[in-house]
Symmetry: C2
Subunit: 107 residues, 2 copies
DNA sequence: GTCGTAGTTCGATGATGACCGTACTACGGA
DNA sequence: TCCGTAGTACGGTCATCATCGAACTACGAC
């Protein structure tokens, strides 16, 4: 039979569709900022479950959706787990310094 | 009688009281982003009336208050007009690259 | 003093969005 | 085949906030 493509297609904005305002809105939330910080600190991709935030699963899904739509994170499906990673290259190319400035901040 | 100190004291956060999240929240609004862009583009300080945005005066006041509390802009009173300027030095010192990354963005 | 201009303050309203619980789908192991 | 785990989808609630108009203060010019 055909290759099983189960979960929703997970569509992201192309690099040139990413807007500063979208990125800023995405980052302007403590939970999402924590997620981005963890992704950046770990250096590699993390599953939803590997994120340590103080909200429920469904809320994490909500926030990851916003980060994805804004072009901040990408997701890769593997079995039942979805691995999320920072779109560092795209962000650095579009808004050089922005992400580093945010991540370098003490708080 | 005593020296007339009329308008509210206009208190800002000290440099070390500025948080990334506050700055991001402040910048994550189209009107406020437009204000910041105009301040940056003009290079000098601008009065409220010199800002070209598509909202009423009272809404401009509201947005400038948020930008001020976040530590993004400073204000100087002169007669009845209030001049607003970007706190570039403070922001660059705290979050190097952030502001430049935002301002360099095409949109 | 009187008027016009600059900006603030105060409600009020309407929209957005953060959050949760529950129900659901999909995969993998026993 | 049955169960546990990973994550999504949906519906609802509650808080936040962008926006406005109207009333107000302060200053400068005449």
């Amino acid at each position: 039979m055909a290759k099983s493509v189960t979960l929703p297609p997970l569509v992201y904005p192309e690099r040139d569709e990413i807007t500063v305002e979208g990125v800023l809105r995405a980052l302007a939330d403590p939970v999402r900022l924590a997620i981005v910080r963890q992704l950046a600190a770990s250096g590699h991709e993390l599953s939803c479950g590997a994120l340590t935030v103080s909200v429920t699963k469904s809320t994490i899904t909500h926030h990851l959706g916003i980060l994805r739509q804004a072009g901040v994170v990408a997701g890769r499906q593997e079995g039942t787990t979805r691995f999320n990673s920072l779109r560092r290259k795209d962000l650095d190319a579009l808004f050089p310094g922005l992400l580093d400035g945010v991540l370098a901040a003490p708080r």
